[in-house]
Amino acid sequence: MHIHAYEKLWLAASLLLILLLIGSVTYGAVGPGVAMISDSEQPIDSQGLDEDDRFSEPRVEQVGENEYAAYVVAYQFGFNPDPIVVPANSTVTFYVTSRDVTHGFEVVGTNANTMVIPGEVSELTVEVGEPQEYGLLCNEYCGAGHHVMEGKVNVVSQEAFEARNDGGDDA
């Protein structure tokens, strides 16, 4: 079978393109460590969040050296805690669940973005940098007040974070 030279060229270019696409996604996973948000968390009772260890008091707590866990409950129409305050230059794992309907959890302008499903816990880990204030919003239509459902993620200096938490214990 005869194949025209241009066709051979096109076949080779197509294969090269496929290799480049797979290669760059592989690079993303190996180099910067880009990960998927998995279903590794156990299901929970969305009606019983009041008795849940993690979600009865939504909060940010230290879980290791420079590692923090943020337990967040999304509801119609907001996020708790609000603002979510995390220390700068640390590793933060968000555990997000919903107590009513499906919501979205999107830290605006960043790659931190997941669906929040009642009865499920979405877990995502990010590295935060310098102090900064991020917006947080729901990107799944969740009811009449969807458009006002927003929050804040405040990255503050380590000192400010500790001062705030010491103050928080008294309250």
Binding site: M1, H4, Y6, I37, T93, T110, V126
Partner: protein, 57 residues
């Protein structure tokens, strides 16, 4: 099927396929290809990986 292809190939060869040389189409597809590559590099490496809070776990 093998016989069919062989028959077609021989008739194509007789018609002189190499004379069909669409250099304009090749150039156009080449330009599209380069646009595609540059777009991918921009979307993945600059827009996606360059944003804050890359999900790492």
């Amino acid at each position: 099927m093998g016989q069919n292809q062989a028959a077609h190939a021989s008739s194509d060869d007789v018609s002189g396929e190499e004379e069909f040389d669409p250099i304009g189409t090749l150039t156009l597809i080449g330009i599209y290809f380069v646009i595609l590559l540059l777009s991918w590099v921009y979307i993945y490496y600059i827009e996606f990986l360059g944003r804050d809070l890359v999900v790492v776990g």
